[in-house]
Amino acid sequence: MIDVKHLTKLYGTKTAIADVTFSVEKGEVLAFLGPNGAGKTTTMRILTGALPATSGTARVAGHDCFDQPMEVKRAIGYLPEVPPLYGEMTVNEYLTFVGRIKGVDPAQLPAALDRTLERLSLGDVRGRLIANLSRGYKQRVGLAQAIIHDPPVLVLDEPTSGLDPKQIIEIRELIKELAGSHTIILSTHILPEATAVARRVVIIHEGRIVAEDSQERLSARLRRSEKVSVMVKTPPTDVRERLQALPGVLSVHQDDPQTFLVEAELGHDLREDLGRFVVTSGWGLLELKPVSITLEDVFLRLTQEESDKGEGDRPIVEEVRS
């Protein structure tokens, strides 16, 4: 549905994105993850036809973004980072205007309007001025604007930025609902968001794609050992040595007086043995949990590997974590 090959965009001499290649299948949800200024918005704007690329190709729904911009624009619903709203219009008027310029058949427009309002639960505010709506409702009107012409592809730039937690959950639910019938690309710098709505994640850093895979496989790829965190009530003084003596244990790390991080070889599940050992030793088992690599770890490690390759400087974030 979306096919991007070797896309590069220069602003003067500054490189915004370099050699970006990825593709999205029909019905898939892809999260574009990266820090601010990584090139997420640039990539999205090229896809929507708002911005021409310096080199490379981008195709949406079978149409080239440069040669057939009209077809591409018809196939895409785009929610920019700042929702493009006219405050002096009511929700109804605004969506009618958007429907007209998106080329919705005038005879179908009232039905499309009702369908969109219902889908985003905007029926109650349809007669209100957009300027008077809350931030969450404005974001929903922004989403409504993107889907009114029922495009096969949705491009959502930071769809939850600036919302409160309740509104964030609502918007995520809406995106999940839309996922069934639309192919979606969304960008975010919030890591849990990528996992909450998307199965596949593209990590972009300083204009380059540093990883592209499902979240599970990204974590698996970077996992070099199995880690289990164990919390005990009364640890003896030689607890580290005794845990270290267990078969398969590589290292034991003390996080705080009662919590220990036990590391074992890859593929060796320690939980059962460790649990039994702590219980039979009578230390009072309070908690036992596997430590999985989070997307944060993946992200930081990948972006750090990139900069290590470049300059060998350790980023400040890594210092803080260790």
Binding site: A50, E88, F97
Partner: protein, 257 residues
């Protein structure tokens, strides 16, 4: 509905909601009303004087003595009022980031430029149509010919169109409405001054070029009741050129931003 129609409709609505249309029309009509009243008053004073001095009522040409100065003054009022109609057209879209919506919709940049221009032109034409009430009010009291008045209205429409297209171009250059209106004033006053400069060098080629580039002579011809191809070409070419520049500015901003 065509994209141009949709954009024009949205802009016209916005003029009345904002409510720029009401304020601009009110000020414009008030000024034109005062100018017309003063013109009529001065003519009637003069004719009374002549009646007293010569003892008979002279033939007064109302077209020459009332309507011509009113239209000439209207052009000056338009220099100040028309840029207000165009200052926000593109500057605000950029400021509010709604330009992004237009540029990612299946409409061309030409659709956007024309839609905005037609909206401003419609408001201006509406304002201008209301000034005809002054001429209609004179019908029971004076005799005059309608033809030069109609050509003067055509000239004023074209002059307004030229001012609006220049204002739209100014609006495409910035996100700031104050800068937009100052640029419009700058453009319009400079082409206006070309006319005076042209008079200074009246027997040189430069003078002829400057005079042709200024709207003054073309406009005065139409007020006199003359419709000449060169004047029509001047206005239509000027409007097309300004709109084309606007188009190019939006297109180049698309590459850079």
């Amino acid at each position: 509905m065509s994209p141009v129609g949709a954009i024009t409709r949205k802009e016209i609505r916005s003029y009345f909601v904002s409510p720029i249309a009401y304020v601009v029309a009110a000020v414009f009509l008030l000024l034109i009303g005062l100018l017309s009243y003063l013109a009529v008053l001065s003519v009637s004073n003069r004719s009374l004087q002549m009646l007293r001095l010569q003892g008979n009522m002279p033939e007064l040409n109302v077209n020459e003595m009332v309507f011509r100065p009113v239209f000439e003054n209207m052009a000056v009022v338009m220099l100040l009022v028309v840029p207000i109609l165009t200052m926000r057209l593109l500057a605000e879209e950029k400021k509010l980031k709604t330009m992004e919506l237009l540029l990612t919709s299946p409409v061309t940049i030409a659709d956007i430029v024309l839609g905005k221009f037609f909206a401003a032109f419609t408001i201006f034409a509406g304002m201008l149509a209301l000034t005809a009430s002054g001429a209609l009010a004179l019908v029971p009291f004076a005799e005059f010919r309608w033809t030069p008045i109609l050509t003067a209205y055509l000239g004023t429409l074209l002059l307004g169109g030229l001012f609006l297209s220049a204002g739209l171009f100014a609006s495409s250059l910035t996100e700031n409405q104050i800068i937009s209106i100052m640029l419009s004033f700058g453009f319009l006053l400079i082409i206006w001054l070309f006319g005076w400069a042209g008079q200074l060098f009246s027997d040189t080629v430069l003078g002829a070029i400057l005079t042709y580039l200024s709207p003054i002579d073309h406009f005065l011809n139409m007020i006199k009741g003359l419709i000449e191809t060169k004047d029509l070409v001047y206005f239509l070419a000027g409007i097309t050129f300004s709109l084309f520049l606007t188009y190019r500015v939006i297109e180049s901003q698309r590459w850079r931003s």
